[in-house]
């Protein structure tokens, strides 16, 4: 299924319209990692739907990890907004990121020798879908952590994506409760 034939690879992430202003001049996502630790009374904010966004202790927040090592990630998502947001969130956690908007571009990038510690890949992608792209990436010997991050939620999709080689099947959105333990593991903090 082809939604778009545009093959887009972004490292500096300059695909946003000017007015969106989410990026610095260097094209980095406009969010710097804090060096300050959370204060005691506000450290972990939690909002539950239907609970008025009130504070409950939450296991993970954005502040809970500071990476010690250089980690790299590839975001593979056909949706501009999701790709940008996921890439930006990973950058905010301190990862160096690249992104592509279709499965074929992801496979080509890996085949060219690019290596990543983490790959976030959606299931429905233009040109080459996420399941087949994952299969081909694994067949090339890439053993990095791969998260299938998708709006698909069925058990059949989950099994198909896992069988293709993703380590985890994550229904969008990707939250810190999933991402932080993964980053800790990749960073050797576990």
């Amino acid at each position: 299924m082809t939604l778009s034939r545009e093959s887009h690879t972004s490292t500096s992430n300059s695909i946003l319209p000017q007015s969106a202003n989410l990026l610095t001049e260097n094209g980095k996502f406009k969010k710097s990692m804090a060096s300050a630790l959370p204060s005691g009374d506000q450290g972990a904010a939690e909002a539950n739907s239907g609970n008025g966004g009130q504070m409950q202790k939450k296991p993970f927040t954005f502040n809970e990890i500071v990476l010690r090592n250089r980690l790299t990630a590839l975001v593979v998502d056909g949706d501009n907004f999701c790709r940008l947001l996921e890439q930006g969130i990973l950058q905010a956690y301190g990862l160096e990121t690249q992104s592509v908007n279709n499965g074929d571009a992801a496979v080509e990038l890996i085949a060219s020798g690019a290596k990543f510690d983490l790959i976030l890949i959606d299931m429905l992608l233009p040109i080459l879908d996420g399941v087949e792209a994952t299969r081909r990436i694994r067949a090339m010997g890439m053993r990095c952590k791969m998260l299938g991050v998708t709006a698909c939620s069925g058990e059949r999709e989950r099994q198909a994506f896992l069988a293709a080689g993703v380590d985890m099947f994550v229904e969008k959105p990707l939250g810190p409760e999933i991402l932080i333990p993964v980053l800790r593991e990749l960073d050797g903090q576990v």
Binding site: L16, S32, N48, G53, F62, D79, F81, L85, K172
Partner: protein, 150 residues
């Protein structure tokens, strides 16, 4: 309790958005990425979402004008739309997106049409509420409801 009347109003508006099920926890995750160096981050993300998703809404509308329905194409569009909607915490919009995809899978054209109409209502309602919320937020100045602690 917030003494500043604008911030108090903001808290009430925010609480209402969650209590009435318009937003879920993902919105809080976005708020946590906001800080003094980018105090309008959440508004900018939401603005980008509405700008980007308008194209998908149009695609779906056009696809629903063509009979017989191409359920595979409709599902693909809605897959994208659901993904981006869930990324800003648009809870009701996400729920309608999920329902729409189920109608696609079962080949229920009437269901798709009805669901899409409801989805557009929720999408528009959320937009109005968030626009009002961000307007007050800008007047109130930086808020600390769920931002990273200093």
């Amino acid at each position: 309790m917030e003494r500043n009347p604008l911030r108090r109003q903001l808290q009430i508006m925010r609480k209402s958005l969650f209590d009435q099920g318009y937003l879920d926890e993902q919105f809080v995750q976005l708020e946590e990425l906001q800080d003094d160096s980018n105090p309008n981050f959440v508004e900018e993300v939401v603005t980008l979402y509405y700008r980007d998703s308008a194209r998908l809404i149009l695609n779906i509308e056009q696809a629903l004008e063509r009979k017989p329905y191409n359920f595979h194409k409709l599902d693909a569009y809605m897959h994208q739309f659901k993904g981006s909607s869930s990324s800003i915490g648009a809870k009701k919009v996400k729920a309608e997106s999920t329902l729409f995809r189920e109608y696609c899978k079962s080949g229920n054209g009437e269901g798709c049409m009805r669901c899409f109409q409801q989805l557009k209502k929720e999408y528009a309602t959320l937009r109005k509420k968030l626009e009002a919320y961000f307007q007050v937020a800008r007047q109130a100045g930086p808020m600390e409801t769920a931002c990273r602690p200093k």
